[in-house]
């Protein structure tokens, strides 16, 4: 269990993280989301006592700096390319393993686990970003820690690598461990994470199950297709106050504020034929955009109309 309390950090006049409090529980993958510049990486550094700031983070009740052998408790990857380019992958891990008295055999185990066994003796200066990510993950797994903290671990991985990472992290969490992963790949996060911590401009926007977040920041709609769609729309408006009915095309409407059962029962009661009755669920991306729309630090300028060509 990770408990972060009142994390706070400023860089000059820029308040990067503001009084941020959240918990990450074991047994599930928890995603850490936020727009660019929201303070995600700063928060992770604060949690690990790498940056000096306000508040504190406890890992199963203990601050990071007070852990007896931190690599055996918490594994982290904050920057994939944090290695000396001429020190071999194996020696890089041997160096870190030495700090926690982790036997050398474990170094080769984790290199094999992340798929770098064949290049263990290679200098990583020529490693691709994906290989560097795998080396970082191997370092995080050295001590078989109870908690994993990963900053954008899917960056640079190919689709197979991303799928492997997703399955690996879910299995890691299923074993009762704590997994906290930041990512800007929302589709990937939707598949990987069960819970979310969402921040914007250093402030907490939401924390909890993914479904709750999506439900809170989007509107679920019932899609109804019928040859008598106009009549159904009228009946719906007359039967339920405040229901939202929007026409999609000549035979389809979107109904907001009702469940499929309510729409179906009403149609049956009025002998209205239905060709489709389904739920349109909003995506995590839609919810994220809705939740963080006002907290984007670096937004591209809106694209306006193309300038008119002036004829001479």
């Amino acid at each position: 269990m990770i408990k972060a309390r009142n994390l706070d950090k400023s860089f000059g006049r820029t308040h990067a993280v503001r009084d941020l409090t959240f918990e990450v529980r074991p047994g599930v993958v928890t995603g850490f989301l936020g727009p660019n510049g929201a303070g995600k990486s700063t928060t992770l550094r604060l949690m690990l006592d790498l940056d000096k700031g306000g508040g504190e983070t406890r890992f199963d009740g203990v601050r990071y700096a007070e852990l007896e052998r931190p690599l055996r408790e918490v594994g982290c990857v904050l920057d994939a390319r944090s290695f000396h380019p001429t020190r071999t992958a194996r020696d890089h891990l041997r160096m870190l393993a030495a700090a926690a008295s982790i036997p050398a055999v474990r170094v080769d185990e984790v290199l094999d686990l992340v798929g770098l066994g064949e290049v263990a003796g290679h200098r990583p200066r020529a490693f691709s970003l994906g290989m560097a990510q795998r080396l970082g993950l191997a370092a995080a797994l050295l001590g078989d820690p109870h908690t994993l903290i990963l900053d954008e671990p899917a960056n640079g991985l190919d689709p197979h690598g991303i799928q492997w990472l997703r399955e690996f992290l879910r299995a890691y969490a299923d074993a009762g461990r704590t997994v906290f992963v930041s990512s800007h790949l929302l589709a990937e996060m939707a598949l990987m994470a069960e819970e979310l911590v969402v921040i914007g401009r250093g402030r907490l926007i939401a924390a909890g199950p993914v479904d709750d977040f999506v439900g809170r920041f989007t509107h679920q709609a019932v899609v109804v297709r019928s040859p008598q769609v106009q009549r159904l729309a009228t009946v719906l408006r007359m039967s339920f106050v405040g229901v939202g009915v929007t026409a999609e095309d000549e035979t389809t409407i979107l109904v907001e504020g009702l469940r499929t059962e309510q729409v179906g029962d009403l149609a049956a009661a009025h002998s209205i034929t239905l060709h489709e009755l389904s739920v349109r669920t909003a995506s995590l991306e839609q919810a994220f955009l809705e939740a963080t729309g006002g907290d984007v630090e670096y937004a591209a300028a809106a694209r306006g109309p193309a300038p008119e060509r002036v004829s001479s």
Partner: protein, 260 residues
């Protein structure tokens, strides 16, 4: 100290798995032996007195602005710290050993052990070269022993200065530039300017120039001064040591108290 053992294990593997470490050690031995060979060959027909013996043992010792082993071990010290920032290693290292002062102490301990061992073994090798070329080893009289001990201490102080300065400014290039520029250019310039009538007020400053003062630690009694004026070896060592202490303390404080 909490975390020191872990930091020491990490630092030993870290330093010994870098090619630059091996390169600096080999250069210290190789260049030192080459200087000793040249000196021994030049004086092989003369009796080996204390002053020449000290020069031979210390590969030029106080004769040059940048003592050989000192500058090579200083580069080792710069790289030992500078790599952390250049390659983003400081965060994984602190994730492995979050006790920052333990990491500083362990790194100083390891680079000190390497620098001192290399210097001592280099002097032993130089003595062997003297014996092979001249047929006699340098006289082990108190003046030579003191200069030899001073050389080991000077090399260690240079290594600490380099590491401390790199913790302070976090730039390998800047520290290397400073380590060459100040003793090679700035200090000789200040000393030269004192001959001008209008700049005689610089004389008290020139007397306490730290790098020149440090070199007096390698002088045998009665030898020509190394630019440190009338300072004794102890006084020179204290002046240079003060510079090292201030730089190292500032670097340590910055490393321990600011963002990684």
């Amino acid at each position: 100290m909490h975390g020191f053992d872990a930091a020491l294990r990490l630092e030993w593997v870290r330093l010994t798995t870098l090619r630059s470490t091996l390169l600096m050690v080999l250069l210290a031995f190789g260049l030192g032996a080459a200087v000793a060979l040249v000196v021994a060959t030049a004086v092989r027909d003369e009796p080996l007195d204390a002053e020449v013996g000290a020069v031979l043992l210390t590969s030029g010792g106080a004769l040059v602005p940048l003592p050989l082993a000192a500058v090579l071990m200083a580069v080792l010290g710069v790289l030992a710290v500078g790599h952390d920032y250049r390659h983003g290693l400081v965060r994984p290292l602190l994730a492995a050993v979050p006790q920052r002062s333990a990491l500083v102490l362990a790194r100083l301990y390891v680079v000190t052990a390497v620098a001192a061992t290399v210097t001592v073994l280099s002097m032993v090798a130089n003595a062997g070269i003297a014996f092979l070329v001249i047929g006699q080893r340098p006289p082990l009289e108190p003046g030579v022993l003191r200069a030899s001990g001073g050389y080991v201490l000077l090399v260690v102080l240079w290594t600490w200065l380099a590491a401390g300065a790199t913790w302070l400014v976090r730039s390998t290039a800047a520290v290397l530039t400073g380590l060459f520029l100040v003793p090679l250019v700035m200090e000789p310039l200040v000393q030269s300017l004192t001959v001008l009538d209008t700049l005689t007020w610089l004389e008290p400053v020139a007397r306490w120039l730290p790098f020149a003062a440090g070199r007096t630690m390698v002088l045998t009694p009665g030898a020509a001064d190394a630019g440190g004026g009338d300072l004794t070896a102890l006084q020179g060592g204290l002046v240079f040591g003060a510079l090292v202490a201030v730089t190292l303390a500032a670097g340590w404080v910055r490393f321990a108290s600011t963002d990684a």
